[in-house]
């Protein structure tokens, strides 16, 4: 069977709809945080294999130099990880929107990355959780890298999963040069549990 077999078409549509609502809430919070208009994207739902993760990341942004944080979440036997990537060109605009004064050092960029990640990741996974009546607990964010190549972000190695459900959301802010990519990854066992919840909604 193909990799896509862990979810069917109806379930995929439902994930799409869930994500639309959740990322709308997340975009609203981002807009309030930055006081700027956030362009609403269309999320991309796909099933990826472990070996495709790096390729999926490569496709996520065209930029060679990125900074990223990751944050795990868990609730009701469903777990996953969220990853937020910024192209490094975004930080100057982000700093001015968030009214950060002072030089844009690596430390200052980390603050911006963490503040935005808290809001976006938190809103998005709670948005999904609310619709499915799951309370997700978030772990601590982990910095994957600053100013590094996409290939350096994720270390190779079998980390105990084969297939995962990937939700990719590409946020842009109107009129300024800010681009970021939010990736939510649910592992196969979590997708089974999620499917049950989804099927309940579909019925």
């Amino acid at each position: 069977m193909s990799a896509a077999a862990i979810i069917n078409e109806d379930q995929r549509d439902c994930y799409q709809e869930l994500t639309n609502v959740a990322m709308g809430q997340a975009a609203d919070r981002l807009a309030r945080l930055l006081n700027a208009y956030v362009v609403l994207p269309i999320p991309k739902i796909s099933v990826i294999e472990n070996s495709d993760l790096n390729m999926a990341l490569q496709g996520a942004t065209s930029d060679s130099s990125v900074s990223a944080v990751c944050q795990g979440f868990i609730g009701a036997g469903i777990s996953g990880e969220a990853m937020l990537m910024f192209n490094d060109a975004s930080f100057a605009s982000l700093a001015s929107l968030m009214k950060y004064s002072g030089p844009l050092t690596q430390a200052a960029e980390l603050e911006l990355l963490m503040d935005t990640a808290s809001v976006l990741i938190g809103a998005c996974i709670h948005g999904i959780g609310d619709q499915l009546e799951i309370v997700f607990n978030q772990g601590h964010p982990v910095v994957l890298g600053q100013h590094c190549g996409m290939a350096d972000l994720v270390a190779y190695g079998n980390n105990g999963w084969d297939k995962a459900l990937a939700i990719e959301i590409h946020y842009t802010i109107e009129h300024v040069n800010i681009e970021c990519e939010l990736l939510l990854l649910f592992t196969e066992e979590s997708v089974r549990a999620l499917n049950k919840k989804i099927d309940y909604l579909l019925d």
Partner: protein, 313 residues
């Protein structure tokens, strides 16, 4: 019946309070004015501030060295957007300055901390309180810092000569290639000690090492933009960036004289020969440029040592 369940509930709450008191993470509940409402045993233990003292006090007046503006930037979205925020030790090592509490296994002067700031909703669904959870991540942080220091040392070892602190040959050759590729003008300088083997026999190895170290130190004073290296043994190489032949020869002569002066209070003669090669319009490659400098060095040796030669075709 209801009495019993009420007693059970009270018992549950007692247990929960016990757990909150004894859990090995810091718990602080703050109200909208950043006044402390809850302060658990972890916080008391590490700060020495008792819950009775902390209760109702403004957090920033209790801990004046806590960066108020920074903390509020993390806490305000919790109140306003009811979202969780996080701080990690890579941003700032700690929120509360807690001294190392473990005299034997503690390897840091203070506790590294990660924190989660979570909204606490009232019955009206307003987030009018927040809870700060403080995790001790000292061991993780110290381990990570150790690794990054070790990696840095390893990459230093790969490019540095340990005796003089100058670049080693392979690192210098890479710099030479990219300097050549950048189309910039300049001169190459090769310095070789005269009769160093005899000197090695006459003096101790330590004394010879000291001579090499002194020459290395002298080359460092040329500045970082003049890329100096210990090319190997008693040979040093320098890229005199954007220097013309005349100026390069002056620098070379000064170097030769200062090497010679190292032996002025000794019964042994210490001297060096130097070859200089300017990058000419038709110098075809970095290696050809280097071999020109080598020819000039050979010429200096042939014509009596302790002298400086400029490459001429």
């Amino acid at each position: 019946m209801s009495d019993k369940s009420e007693a059970d509930t009270i018992k549950d709450i007692h247990w929960l309070m016990d757990i909150l008191q004894n859990i090995d993470v810091g718990l602080v509940v703050l109200d909208r004015n950043y006044e402390v409402q809850l302060w658990n045993a972890f916080m008391e233990g590490h700060s020495g501030v008792s819950p009775q003292l902390a209760k109702g006090k403004n957090l920033f007046s209790l801990f004046p060295d806590l960066d108020e503006a920074w903390f509020k930037q993390k806490a305000e979205p919790v109140f306003q957007l009811k979202t969780r925020t996080f701080t990690i030790w890579e941003q700032r090592p700690y929120l509360f300055h807690f001294r190392n509490s473990r005299p034997i296994t503690g390897r840091s002067k203070f506790m590294y901390q990660n924190t989660s700031i979570i909204p606490l909703e009232s019955v009206t669904r307003q987030a009018d309180h927040l809870c700060v959870i403080i995790y001790d991540v000292t061991d993780t942080a110290v381990g990570k810092l150790d690794i990054s220091r070790a990696n840095q040392t390893l990459s230093e070892i790969q490019v540095r000569d340990s005796l003089t602190g100058l670049m080693n040959k392979s690192a210098w050759l890479t710099v030479l290639e990219s300097y050549y590729a950048s189309q910039k003008q300049g001169c190459l300088l090769l310095l070789d000690m005269d009769h160093f083997r005899d000197l090695n026999h006459a003096l101790s190895h330590q004394q010879c090492d000291e001579i090499l170290r002194r020459i290395g130190a002298g080359l460092k004073t040329l500045g970082d933009e003049q890329h100096a290296a210990r090319f190997g043994g008693e040979i040093f190489s320098v890229i005199l960036a954007e220097k013309e032949a005349e100026e390069a020869m002056q620098i070379a002569e000064k170097l030769r004289r200062s090497v010679f002066s190292l032996g002025k209070n000794s019964q042994h003669t210490i001297s060096a020969s130097i070859g200089v090669a300017e990058r000419l319009a038709d110098t075809p490659s970095a290696s050809e440029w280097l071999s020109n400098a080598d020819k000039a060095l050979y010429h200096a040796k042939e014509s009596g040592r302790n002298r400086t030669s400029l490459f001429k075709r």
